[in-house]
Amino acid sequence: MPDRTKAPESSVIDLPNLPALQTVHLPCGLDLHLLNQGQQPVVLFEMVVPLGRWEEPSAGLAYYLFKMLTEGTPTKSSEEIASFFDFYGSHLEITPTLDAVNIKLYALNKFFPELVKFLTDLLTESSFPKREFETLKQIRIEQIRQQYSRNNAFASLKFRELLFGAEHPYGLMISEEQARKTQRDDLLNHKNLLCTQPLLFITGMVGEDEIKAVESAFEGFPQTPTPSKRTAFTNTGKSQTITREDSTQASLRIGKTTINRHHEDIHKLKVANELLGGFFGSRLMKNIREEKGLTYGIHSSFLHLHHASYWCIGSELLRDKVTLGQEEIQKEITKLQQSPPEQEEFSMVINYMKGKFLSSFDSPFSAHGLIKSLKLAQLPESYFMDFFDTLQNIKPEDISLMASRHFNQDDITTLVVV
């Protein structure tokens, strides 16, 4: 009979062997960052095209430019292009973000060479057929309407507008009107931006054949230099409450702009945030979900964008309990600032983060995301080791110090959509 009243012996969690990142210089001049990891014959190839809100010639243009990639060339129709990717069971994901357009190609190794070549051909040959463009535009306008009608999606965008200002590349909310304004001629005039020098990443079962396939797909690829970025000033707005009809819950967002990942506090701050509201066992989750039942979930997180970082606590709360929710959040922050956590809670969060660190590098595709973010932010390769070091050496007092330094309330922005 095992003794169930006490936990089995456990061991200290050691730093795992991190997957080795390699960089291959391709003859075309571009670098290919690769992670050879995993036992299944699959790869994820990604192009990160640095054409975000700061670089695109008009707001929302990159979206159309890249979404039209699969809509036609002088020799291939939209249907033929879609059939090609689908026939090989591959998955092409084009995601325009605030900082870049990410093009992800998931493929079985056996079909990868054809697929990557096909993809680079699209980048150089895209012809933006008129009818397809009109359809895409209609769909885009619909998406914007639908997105803004969902309280939580709307709240997240509106919160960024409050943080950065409505004219700022990160604050700007694309309106239906703006989405309608873009014309096919705008795309034709900026066609060469499709070939803006990308960063290349590949993860999975990557060998010589896969590297060769990328090499030959990019042979003679015309590289457009990255356009210069616009200048912008952050113009933080006041806190705001927006009332909508038919809400059964309130969306709450609280936060402010914060330090970037090059700052020396970054790892310790991450621990402080984790304890506050970063995981299921966090103080906010315990207080507001598990003790008071005011919400299904509450999360505190950092968003590191290329030119700014911000911190945000977000939750969907009982409609008539928003004020209570806000007060409790405030209490938890103050408590964290005033007294260091007890040893038991402290070591729990540290070990939890170590375990999570292990599992985040275990899947090739999640390791891919981590390595990509490292390269894009131009962080040193020691970044993840430093993080693990911090987990080994941080003290409970550091937590309250971080909370006092970075979670103070003077310049905080609050948004309630109810």
Binding site: P2, I13, Q40, L108, Q138, E142, G204, Q249, K354
Partner: protein, 412 residues
């Protein structure tokens, strides 16, 4: 290809071990063979509420999450119409902590009334957040009871209505636990950096003493054949009109299921699919349109759903879909079939990349009744011919067999 070994403990627990020494982790995945299909019509949403209670402390451990987090573990769970699935990922040297925690809550819960009160509130908020507070969130609350007249699939996993959650009592909780949470009704998968021997030892040590219980014998009402078209209309504050068509199909096992699955892929998976090409691209009536199968254990639904472009008449859009279904009953393009088979192959291989997915896949295959389905299903899918698809289309894609929902926006 996923390698595994199986054992059945004397108390009925089904153990599956999948060794993978390339990872520093161990996963424990426990599937209980209970979902909303096992609920009574007057106590719906219970399987899911119960999943929440499983984190509120067991007989000897007052909190599930904390001791696990303290050794670097993570966990979560989900409930659907057929199963409740719990999973833990932990650094390999600390695997035993996961055995301790999972076995203790299979042995007995703490049945703390306060836990029930709080989780009741949390689940009600979840009900609101996911089903009421977003456009179209209540589609399945509306559609299921029309598509199913007898079978418990007539309510969604979250429950028929909030009042059922509000009225749950501690006695209900105890009897649900006794009926469904015991070794014979569970599948345990241990996967990752652990040997078969060690996994078996730990399973015997921690789960071996949990007593066997009688297997639940609740008969689940079979759904009678649908004989005539069913239609319903809903108006709400939504940004666009939406159309849902749900057709009855067979259960999860066998070739017919995969033929129906591939048929739904041909119709509405990805941008080269029939419906997308015709009604989003060539003659735009929809801003999005797709088709899929629910994948449930008992006879399920093949669903076509889409959002309409402004100004499009919903009945006309409905007729346009129906017109595109007819040709598939006589002829299916061989290249198109090969395409969806390739997609199915890619889905299978990609699903094997993550350790946790492999563990869940094994547990689910065992639930279906044959663990080796995890490796055999792809061959079954590849064996499907164009005639099988036409036959599926003829049987399934009939208006008499369909529930149609027009979900329209309020007149301004």
């Amino acid at each position: 290809m996923v390698d595994y070994k199986e054992h059945i403990l004397p108390n009925g627990l089904h153990l599956i071990v999948h060794e993978d020494h390339n990872t520093p982790l161990v996963c424990l995945n426990i599937l209980y063979k209970v979902g909303s299909r096992n609920e009574r019509p007057d106590k719906t949403g219970f399987a899911h509420l119960f999943e929440h209670l499983m984190f509120g402390g067991s007989k000897h451990v007052k909190n599930f999450d904390e001791p696990l987090q303290a050794v670097g573990g993570e966990n979560n769970a989900f409930t659907n119409t057929d199963i409740t699935n719990y999973y833990v990922t932990v650094p390999a040297p600390n695997a035993e902590t996961a055995f301790w925690l999972e076995s203790d809550r299979m042995l007995s819960l703490s049945f703390d009334p306060e836990v029930l009160e709080v989780q009741r509130k949390v689940v009600i908020e979840e009900f609101k957040q996911r089903y009421l507070n977003q456009p179209y969130g209540d589609v399945w609350l509306k559609l299921r009871p029309v598509a199913y007249e007898k079978h418990p699939y007539q309510w969604p996993t979250i429950g028929k209505e909030i009042s059922h959650i509000e009225e749950a009592t501690m006695d209900d909780v105890k009897s649900f636990f006794k009926t469904h949470y015991h070794p014979g009704n569970a599948v345990l998968v241990v996967a990752g950096d652990i040997t078969e021997q060690r996994a078996l030892e730990l399973t015997e040590k921690w789960f071996g003493e949990i007593p066997a219980q009688e297997m639940p014998n609740g008969q689940i009402a079979a759904e009678p054949d649908q004989l005539a078209p069913r239609k319903l209309k809903v108006t709400a504050n939504v940004p666009a009109d939406a159309l849902y068509k749900a057709y009855h199909m067979g259960g999860r096992m066998g070739k017919a299921y995969h033929a129906a699955d591939l048929l739904s892929d041909l119709l509405g998976r990805g941008k080269s699919s029939v419906l997308f090409q015709e009604l989003v691209k060539n003659k735009p009536m929809f801003s999005s349109l797709s088709a899929y199968v629910m994948g449930s254990y008992d006879p399920g639904l093949l669903v076509i759903s889409g959002k309409l472009l402004p100004g499009v008449d919903i009945e006309e859009a409905d007729r346009a879909i129906q017109a595109l279904l007819e040709p598939l009953k006589d002829q299916v393009d061989a290249d198109a079939l090969e395409k969806v088979k390739n997609q199915a192959e890619a889905t299978t291989v990609f699903a094997e990349v993550d350790l946790l997915n492999r563990a869940m896949g094994l547990a689910y295959a065992a639930f279906l009744g044959d663990t080796n389905l995890i490796n055999d299903e792809l061959e079954l899918i590849k064996s499907i011919q164009t005639e099988d698809i036409c036959a599926a289309a003829k049987t399934i894609l009939r208006e008499d067999n369909c529930t149609t929902l027009y979900y329209q926006k309020n007149e301004q």
